[in-house]
Chain length 595, copies 2
């Protein structure tokens, strides 16, 4: 189960696919330089390969345990977490004033990629902590910031998001947890939350829960939800830890994967003594939660990239070691490594090309996130923000759908051994499976794409993106290299099909939202396919221009060309699925389907 952080690929994705250099050009990141990025990538690789990756298998076999409301994590996690905090990893992209290092958010996304490949069940907790820090930074009061911000930024205290309740999974409008004024400026919180990632653990001394709840007389629906900051231990005014708050973990889920991550059932105020403070304005909780949610969705997409990478590396190593069979027509002699079989290489190229495409999408999404906040020019900021919004559901859903496929192929490459847990290939498949579900199911991402993102600006951002893709395709078609030219041609056709379904959806939106919602999932897949092809192509063009060494460039070209003949080829079929509309999923009496 050898694994190493794919620093070369990460560098390629950053620089050539996602256009990371645009960030230095903004002037917003003083210390940012190629050398610094290089040093960070190397150090990150060391931490991930040497500290985290060796814990991955143990985290599956010796997962988090709950006893007397206390959670014990996998042996080694505490030490790894301490090194994570000491290495300054959590603080990477926060401003220096808030205890951070003032680097671009894109590097935090790169970190998520690497951490999740090394040990996903450890890594997913850290995303919640940075998310909580973002929310406190954005809407916290001075007091909240003074007491909590730096501690969460550094990761000395961890953070959680408490949204889901049994009756309100994806439907946050139906949240019932209550918050009542306690008379001293604080609020009494009561209710139960489920599926709380790292809701309780032993990695650090305090946990800061961000909790969605309703004030008395709050309006029904999403406009009546407020956000509260509820610490595990209260914090005295001098910053020292005070009393234990009445918030406890009362259960851990028995999950398909991610056994190392304690997924907690949290009870707030069972003894009527749970206190928190309002974070942000009253009844604006959901909107404020979205401050962290958008970037949390990109984070989850990137988790998909990481676990796909892990699965791919293991499959590739196995394919080189495992000997089975002989070349066509050969009957004698030693068996050959299965990498020699074209069908095995097909599986590996499928894994590789989809992983690389997903990485390109997520990193480009991250660069857009940063540019939306730091580009000097107002129009540039606005366009970057629109691109960020557009790509976010795609990063989240496409990358994680593909991660499910990739990790399943990873099992297949191992043959019978893939089905045996000790091999470790199945763990990646089990671990990956959550990413398509949490942080808004992929179905909800698709609805976000065809709803807010596509209709919100009348299709402006989508059309601009597709124009960029078409321009890239045109450039590629003119390339000397026939393979690149062919990929350009495939991308052009795929983009045209995407434009076609985009216009169909926009036209139907005026008539019937059911038609739009019915086509949401295939549209997202189609969009992701095209975006992935676009970033793969950009990667090749930019690397060629930068004079990357020939053999490496060849590998990128072959990945692109494989992707063009497989994934880009799906585009026309997906247009048909989109345009089949609501008739295709007509509401039959379910009785007729069970038989």
């Amino acid at each position: 189960m050898s694994y190493s952080t794919p620093v070369r690929d990460i560098r390629h994705a950053l620089k050539h696919m996602a256009g990371f250099d645009a960030l230095s050009a903004t002037g917003a990141y003083e210390d940012l330089s190629d050398e610094l990025v290089e040093a960070i990538l190397e150090e990150m690789g060391r931490y991930c390969d040497q500290v985290l990756a060796p814990l991955n298998w143990d985290s599956d076999q010796h997962g988090a345990r709950l006893e007397d409301r206390a959670v014990t994590t996998t042996p080694g996690f505490r030490e790894a977490y301490q090194q994570y905090v000491e290495g300054g990893w959590n603080a990477l992209a926060f401003p220096e004033g808030a205890g951070g290092q003032g680097l671009p958010g894109t590097l935090a996304v790169v970190l998520i990629d690497a951490l999740n490949a090394a040990c996903m069940s450890f890594a997913i907790g850290t995303s919640l902590t940075t998310g909580a820090a973002k929310a406190v930074k954005a809407v916290g009061t001075e007091a909240q910031k003074r007491l909590f911000l730096e501690k969460i930024v550094t990761g000395e205290w961890s953070g959680t998001m408490n949204l889901t309740e049994p009756q309100a999974g994806s439907s946050l409008a139906d949240i019932k947890t209550k918050a009542e004024p306690a008379g001293d400026g604080r609020y009494k919180i009561s209710g139960q939350k489920i599926y709380i990632t790292y809701g309780e653990h032993d990695l650090c001394e305090n946990i800061v829960h961000l909790v969605l709840a309703r004030l008395p007389d709050a309006p029904a629906g999403t406009g009546g939800i407020s956000m509260f900051l509820v610490p595990k231990f209260h914090v005295n005014d001098d910053g020292s830890l005070g009393e234990r708050n009445d918030v406890y973990c009362v259960g851990l889920e028995h999950k398909l994967g991610l056994h190392g991550s304690p997924t907690s059932v949290m009870a707030f105020g069972e003894s009527g003594e749970c206190y928190g403070t309002l974070l942000g304005e009253e009844n604006r909780g959901l909107r404020n939660m979205f401050i962290m949610m958008n970037s949390a969705r990109l984070d989850v997409g990137t988790q998909g990239v990481g676990i796909a990478e892990r699965s791919f590396q293991q499959a590739l190593a196995f394919a080189q070691e495992r000997r089975q069979g002989r070349a066509p027509g050969v009957r004698d002699g030693a068996q050959i490594p299965i990498y020699e079989h074209p069908d095995v290489r097909r599986m590996l190229f499928t894994m590789k090309s989809l992983t690389a495409a997903a990485r390109g999408i997520c990193y480009a999404n991250a660069v857009a996130y940063d540019l939306a906040r730091t580009a000097p020019d107002e129009t540039a900021r606005r366009e970057a923000a629109a691109l960020e919004g557009l790509l976010t559901p795609i990063s989240k859903a496409w990358s994680t759908d593909r991660a499910n496929e990739i990790t399943s192929i990873g099992v297949q490459v191992h043959g019978g051994m893939g089905y045996v847990e000790e091999t470790g290939a199945a763990q990646h498949m089990r671990d990956a499976r959550i990413a398509a579900i949490y942080e808004g199911t992929n179905g909800i991402q698709a609805m976000d794409l065809v709803g807010r993102k596509l209709q919100g600006d009348g299709g402006e951002a989508a059309r601009r993106f597709i124009d960029d893709v078409a321009a890239g395709a045109l450039e590629a078609k003119a390339a000397d290299d026939s393979g690149v030219a062919y990929a350009g041609q495939c991308l052009e056709a795929a983009a045209a099909a995407l434009a076609d379904s985009t216009e169909w959806l926009l036209a139907r939106a005026a008539e019937d939202q059911e038609d739009v919602l019915a086509g949401a999932a295939p549209y997202l897949r189609q969009f992701g396919n095209v975006a992935g092809g676009y970033y793969l192509l950009r990667g090749v063009l930019s690397a060629a221009e930068a004079g990357v060494r020939e053999s490496e460039l060849e590998a990128h070209k072959q990945v692109l060309s494989f992707y063009a003949d497989t994934t880009l080829a799906e585009s026309e079929a997906l247009s048909r699925a989109v345009k089949a509309g609501k008739e295709a999923v007509r509401r039959l009496d379910p009785e007729l389907l069970t038989a």
Copy 2:
């Protein structure tokens, strides 16, 4: 986790998709009548729903255990197995002279569908037993038949297939297990076999192992493998059980799923006292093993259908119960069942349409199997045999690939609850995952399709099948019903694309087998997509002609039409993937892929 055998769908698939009535027309099955089939389906449903289905969750949580070389199976399995034997289920399709009931093999395939939906980890063992019975019946000596056949046919004794060794997984040519003449007409067997399904258990009193091994001085490769019958307990000449043989289970695999099925490491002759008899001729072991292997492959494909059905039913039930969110534009009022959301229905229709298509392929494959043996006309028998051969790798690989997708969607429909094991949705995904691997990985099935099956007769069977599909499409295009006519049009285009890649492969076969092997997997998918569409369409046309009630017919039409817009739509893209050939999977230095 309510489940019931889909008797209505099974009947539809048998009669309308697979053309089961052709079997009565052969006159080979004296007692076969609609009433008898009906009675069998009802009784089968009762056994599966009441006895097996309730054991499924337990089989996952309390799987097989090994202690002192003895295996204890899940509580309830012994009683269920006894009822299985007493019900005559194992003997269904064997001749009456051999202790069977003389019914078509197709009904045994239907049984596999139903058993695997109810409890896959129980059911997969029974396929090995019927497989062993087929082999003994086909090539056993009189003595072997007298002592063993009826016991295995009835299932009083179970059977196993011992092929795999650590160094020889898919590459049977590399088997090393030895068989040496013992001087008394028997052979001493020594060696280790892995991944032996139900290699040891407590369900019945004896186990008959069919073991591939090499005689001294046997030629290298597949031509030097012989098959041996190695009982757990020797059998005295009067049929009573004799001494324990020196064959033991020395380990159970810790698997991703199918915990109820003991996957054994078997040690033969550790004390030098393992004796068996030659089954079939010397050095013909592999060929004889294929007697059972072809139908075993169809059985595994059908396992995929069963587990997909189970997953679908659970997802559909959940979608009707689970309330989340509201219709577009509605803000107040009660939450609606998620079945009301178009995107959820898309997931369910995907599951349903692929399951129905896979069932049609497997049942049609089974009917071809029977016709190849019972059709009165020589040409009909030959054509049926060719169709059986062609469909077998497709049944196996397409159905199980799709089962992986379907059971993963089944998890997705459940949202967060899908990731929690207690829900049971994840179990289906874990259980299903083996079917694409064992009995020849799906990659090997694809190679069989483009190799022996396509090139073996110069494309004759494939072309005939595609002609049949085109004729069906033409008939549908002329239908009054616009939906059916549209599906016919889609099928026509998909079949044309399939014909195109078929001819490309046949042309390349003369030039370069690497090109053929590189396209094997997408070709199998394309073939399966078209075959599935063809059988769905046949089902609709035949049911319409038979005057099936309108609402039911509507459901079949909608499933067909959904499939046409999604799965059939993939056909052109898959032609492109096939025709990309070996260049698409060029043998790059793996170093360049790891980065």
